[in-house]
């Protein structure tokens, strides 16, 4: 067993972990944060995407023991305050029906959050020297690490476009307009709850 401390959604958690434990299993089995999903356990589907030190990563491939001192944000930490306002991406996903079964959704949300902050080109960028506009083709390529078997891609891309804002460039993050809209929308609608 190894002693580590990880900050999860802003709270430092000291833990004793089996070195074999993945960050994903730590979140789900130990910490009860089941929002992050296990789809393949081998970095091949993106359902386990979280933010580690602000960058999107696959929690299944991160050994918990190697994350000592890391800052981890999960889907549960995306909304500024749990029960109220939603993160603009969460609100946009609801508006655009960007999910069906919902299992890939937390990973999509964390991945999109991380992606919007990534400046620089992608594999489809024609001129590598520039920070490209976030066209649909760019969003699709950048989100290809998140599989969705329900086939909600069309709506996922639309939701991300909404949040990026028109004319956005890679690395611009969430548009101000999207942030405002999420605030206005966020507190409406009671969920079914985790009964």
């Amino acid at each position: 067993m190894a002693e580590i401390t990880i900050r999860v959604n802003g709270t430092g958690v000291p833990l004793s972990v089996d070195p074999r434990t993945s960050l994903l299993d730590l979140l789900r089995e130990r910490l009860g944060l089941t929002g992050t999903k296990k789809g393949c356990d081998h970095g091949q589907c993106g359902a386990c995407t979280v933010l580690i030190d602000g960058r999107r990563a696959n929690a299944c491939l991160a050994l918990a023991v190697a994350q000592d001192g890391s800052d981890v944000t999960t889907v549960e930490g995306l909304a500024p305050d749990g029960d109220g306002e939603l993160h603009p991406l969460q609100a946009a996903f609801i508006e655009r029906d960007a999910f069906q079964c919902g299992y890939c959704t937390p990973g999509q949300l964390c991945s999109a959050t991380g992606m919007l902050a990534e400046s620089g080109p992608s594999a489809v960028t024609a001129d590598l020297a520039e920070d490209p506009r976030l066209t649909r083709a760019e969003i699709r390529e950048r989100m290809s690490g998140n599989l969705c078997r329900c086939g909600a891609y069309v709506n996922i891309v639309a939701a991300i476009e909404d949040v990026a804002g028109s004319g956005a460039r890679a690395g611009d993050g969430v548009s101000a307009a999207a942030r405002d809209m999420a605030g206005a929308r966020g507190s409406a609608g009671a969920g079914e709850g985790a009964r």
């Binding site: 190894a2 089996d18 070195p19 074999r20 993945s22 356990d41 081998h42 970095g43 993106g46 995407t49 580690i52 960058r55 999107r56 990563a57 696959n58 299944c60 491939l61 991160a62 050994l63 023991v65 190697a66 000592d68 991945s111 991380g114 992606m115 990534e118 400046s119 620089g120 080109p121 992608s122 594999a123 960028t125 590598l128 020297a129 699709r140 390529e141 950048r142 989100m143 290809s144 690490g145 998140n146």
Partner: protein, 324 residues
């Protein structure tokens, strides 16, 4: 997963000095943790080198020195790479997914292991995993496997896109081991399988990759193109890294050509380069050069398509690199 002892290396010397049999170095974990969970890799000691001070990308004379712990995404996003070595930046960008590129180190990318289905499954025979147990791919499913440089013991391919570009760029890999430091020229880091398919590289036990040095970039326009069955997040069927300099009188000056997805190592197409250099830059010449390189290919029954694919891809990439 077999249990192991984990330690975080504080410096290169310490990491290497502490090496003993059963030790593996952990970079971003995107390949090693995957293999550990499959039971393919079973380190007793896992030494985390991802936080070593090997994370800089800096000018080095007319070239660039890249620390081995630099993340793939940082490498591809770096302005020097994008401006001076676009072939390499693009190769890195076509690999894996955004999440994996954020975690994976440059050193780890070079050392990732084959995607052969039989290698990845410990319930199957595999000469690479268990020397002498046989190679079921030869008579089994090998559609994604090698057409060049394979042996009767192993037909695996190396999956790294970055390595193909580094091979074309004449990169040099800096390593430090228990017996000291040395530099290995690419494409020579990776071996052909021969009779020892269990050895992917020429690294000796305990050697740790510390940096990659790129010499000055080749003079011509360059490209990396990867052909795969889905539009993203897939390994190459075949890929090509190329640079082409065409002089004022329409002749080929400096040219580089390397192939991915065809062999146990990134395949530097030297025969093709020889045929091209000094000759006319044109479609027929490109085809002749491709054929010269592929003449020694021996495809398996299930991967014959890689011959026309490689030929066509070489020609297509060179065609695109021709000055307008």
């Amino acid at each position: 997963m077999k249990t192991f002892a984990y330690d975080r290396a504080r410096d290169v010397a310490g990491a290497v000095a502490g090496f003993r049999p059963g030790t593996m170095y952990l970079g971003g974990g995107t390949n090693l943790v995957d293999l550990m969970r499959l039971g393919v890799a079973e380190p007793e000691y896992l030494v985390d080198v991802s936080k070593l001070p090997l994370r800089a990308i800096e000018a080095d004379g007319d070239g660039v020195l890249i620390g081995a712990a630099v993340r793939n995404s940082d490498l591809a996003a770096h302005p020097v790479l994008r401006e001076r070595y676009p072939m390499l930046a693009r190769a890195v960008l076509t690999g894996a997914s955004g999440q994996v590129r954020n975690m994976a180190t440059v050193g780890g990318n070079l050392l990732q292991r084959t995607r052969c289905s039989y290698f990845q499954d410990v319930t199957k025979a595999c000469n690479k995993r268990r020397p002498g147990s046989g190679c079921p791919a030869i008579d089994g499913d090998h559609r994604n496997l090698a057409i060049l440089g394979h042996s009767s013991d192993c037909v695996a391919t190396h999956p790294s896109d970055m390595a193909v570009a580094l091979a074309a760029l004449d990169a040099r890999v800096h390593v430090t081991g228990p017996e000291g430091a040395r530099v290995i020229a690419m494409p020579g880091l990776h071996r052909l399988p021969g009779t020892e398919p269990d050895r992917d590289t020429v690294l000796r036990p305990g050697e740790l990759i510390t940096a990659i040095r790129l010499p000055a970039p080749p003079p011509g326009a360059s490209a990396y193109r990867k052909v795969r069955e889905r539009a993203s997040f897939a390994f190459a069927l075949v890929s090509v890294a190329a640079a082409l300099e065409v002089t004022g009188d329409g002749l080929v000056g400096d040219c580089r050509l390397a192939l991915g997805g065809v062999a146990h190592a990134p395949w530097r197409a030297r025969r093709a380069e020889e045929v091209l250099t000094g000759g006319r830059a044109g479609e027929d010449e490109f085809r002749r050069a491709a054929d010269a390189e592929l003449a020694e290919a021996s495809p398996l029954p299930g991967n014959r398509y890689k011959i026309p694919l490689a030929r066509n891809l070489i020609v297509a990439v060179l065609r695109e690199l021709m000055p307008r």
